[in-house]
Amino acid sequence: MTQPILSVQELKKYFVVGHTGLLGKRTPVIVRAVDGVSFEIYPGETLGLVGESGSGKSTVAYTIVGMYKPTAGKIRFMDTEIGANDQRPKELKKAIQIVFQDPGSSLNPRQTIKQILEMPLRVHRKGGNRLEMVLHLLEIVGLPPETMYKYPRMLSGGEKQIVGIARALATEPSLVILDEPTSALDVSVQAKTINLLLQLQRQFNLSYLFITHDLSLMRNVANRVAIMYLGKICEVANTADFFQKPLHPYTQMLLSSIPVVSEEEEALRPKKVLSQGEIPSPVNIPTGCSFHTRCPFAMPHCSKVDPPFVDMGGGHLVRCHLYP
């Protein structure tokens, strides 16, 4: 098997969000946003990271890009360990790029698209004709050249997100993290953006970490899918396997919750796992398996022991006491 481009091992990221108790007895209140997450991404592959709000998927993304320093765990990019670095070398920043969720707030409203796209070029690709490079970038993502002189407010949401993608590609990265790149867009615009992303992936052999909460979208873009719940991954599988036989009760609940548009899709949804209960607060994660409070199959020891990962064959990993 080829070497992974990115491998994350037992990644943990805790945040201190406040304190309880009085002076001498102050104890920090800790949010375990990411609590022991491991996965690999192979060259040219799309790994889908799916989870609801508060599951820690964006924290994983930001930690990999270097916006947060991990509390514990390893992040390996190609052959280098990058998690512990205080200051990342420029080469690394060039190789890992991110596209943010909200195109409205991730572009500087006072800069033209040309200025926005020039910034990464100035830092990472010194020399050369910058104007030509900007034009080339716009051509790659299919925006007309005159877009360069516009300000973000003059563009539609979809176009802004495409500028965000062009900015990420400016440094010629090998790994792009897509943090819900289309969740702020309408379906018809989403379709266009996703197709562009897939085409760029083929063209430049990019690896994607695709973060989303939309499983139907995931079905169509990812090679492998990882499901996160409250800071932990509960199931990883190849996309086809994953949708044919979802194993973890949470995955089944997610799948049965998706509103679908055709009979064939309805047949794929597990019927018996109806969504129940509230998502617990990440400050107060339930003991044992964190899903036991909402799980219809919960057994007495689920609330005490956190289940280990079990390989169900073919790289289909699941973290649940029901298996093997």
Binding site: E52, S53, S156, G157, G158, D186, V187, S188, V189, Q190, A191, K192, I194, N195, H213, D214, L215, S216, L217, R219, N220, V221, T239, A240, F243, M253, L254, L255, S256, S257, I258, P259, V260, V261, S262, E264, E265, L268, R269, L274, S275, Q276, E278, I279
Partner: protein, 336 residues
């Protein structure tokens, strides 16, 4: 389908303009809409197509100016809402039509307890109907309303502030408030969009149970086609300020006619896989200078000469299936 002679709500040729610097946005351009008692209607369209403007016009909460309604009628049980006096309007807004908003956090006042807010709703409703109501009775009604939306421990909830509840619970509270007046029509504007999928599913199931139990008429506004399919029995598809197609929900999904509807349904990612269709080229028009004729024509793959000159009327091509497109009109009028 047996339809009663007067629809519960009927909109005829409604237009809404907004005054902006240097011109006017012609947002709604002749909307035609009707629903009968007990129907659950979905209103589908992309961001900026005028769904919310239409609902605000129905409740008459559009600020005028900048909004202006140059023509059209909104008939609620045969009476034109646009011509009603403030007092009549107040009773329509409560017992007639209630609304659930997209973002429950913004819909609830953060500085009052849930109890105080529900109290206000129930009390003003009683006043509108010239009934007197005491505090104990209001409290009981509020508790039972919260019980109806499957919230545990309603007494404690009534004493808490919105910030102490989760997003799903807040939306349940909003539903409880909207239903506490027993409205004839419930307008739900993207009721699950701001919530997580599993929580959205709970809310939609709850909503379906409640409206089925009370046989309430519902208008569900959304851009998520899957939600429409699960909750409604009739769909109106809106594009750039007019209704382009309407049919029974199953029909819309099995046999969409309008090129826009077809494009929209094709772009929804499927759980069965198979990639994503390339979407609809172009974007929603600028309302300052909307395209002449059919507003969809610059993006339409089947555009004809007539589309650029005339606006296609909404024509019933089959029983209960109407479409506004010259591809389906039996004899396109060619007059200039």
């Amino acid at each position: 389908m047996v339809s009663s002679p007067t629809p519960l709500l009927e909109i005829r040729d409604l237009a809404v303009n907004f005054a902006v610097y240097g011109g006017e946005l012609r947002v709604l351009d002749g909307v035609n809409f009707r629903m009968f008692a007990g129907e659950r209607v979905g209103l589908v369209g992309e961001t900026g197509c005028g769904k919310t403007t239409m609902m605000k016009a129905i409740l008459r909460v559009l600020p005028t100016p900048p909004a202006r309604i140059p023509r059209g009628e909104i008939l609620f049980k045969g009476k034109d809402i646009l011509k009603m006096k403030e007092r009549e309007l107040r009773s329509v807004r409560g017992t007639g039509i209630s609304m659930i908003f997209q973002d429950p956090t913004a819909a609830l006042n953060p500085v009052f307890t849930i109890g105080a807010q529900m109290h206000a709703v129930i009390q003003s409703q009683a006043q509108n109907n010239h009934r007197s109501i005491d505090r104990r009775k209001i409290w009981q009604l509020a508790v039972s309303a919260l019980k109806d939306v499957a919230l545990a421990d309603p007494e404690r909830l009534l004493k808490s502030y919105p910030i102490q509840l989760s997003g799903g619970m807040r939306q349940r509270v909003c539903i409880a408030m909207a239903l506490s007046t027993n409205p004839e029509i419930l307008i739900a504007d993207e009721p699950g969009t701001s919530l997580d999928v599993t929580i959205q599913d709970q809310i939609l199931r709850l909503l379906r149970d409640l409206v089925e139990k009370r046989n309430m008429s519902v208008i569900l506004i959304t851009h998520t086609l899957g939600v429409v399919r699960e909750l409604t029995n009739r769909v109106y598809v809106m594009y750039a300020g007019s209704i382009v197609e309407t049919a029974e929900t199953t029909k819309i999904f099995s046999q969409p006619l309008h090129p826009y509807t077809r494009g929209l349904i094709a772009t929804v990612p499927r759980l069965t896989g198979g990639g994503i269709a390339s979407g609809i080229p172009g974007r929603i028009p600028d309302y300052r200078n909307p395209p002449i004729g059919c507003r969809f024509h610059p993006r339409c793959p089947h555009v004809m000469e007539i589309c650029k000159q005339q606006k296609p009327p909404l024509i019933e091509v089959e029983p209960n299936h109407s479409v506004a497109c010259f591809l389906y009109s039996p004899t396109p009028k060619v007059e200039l």
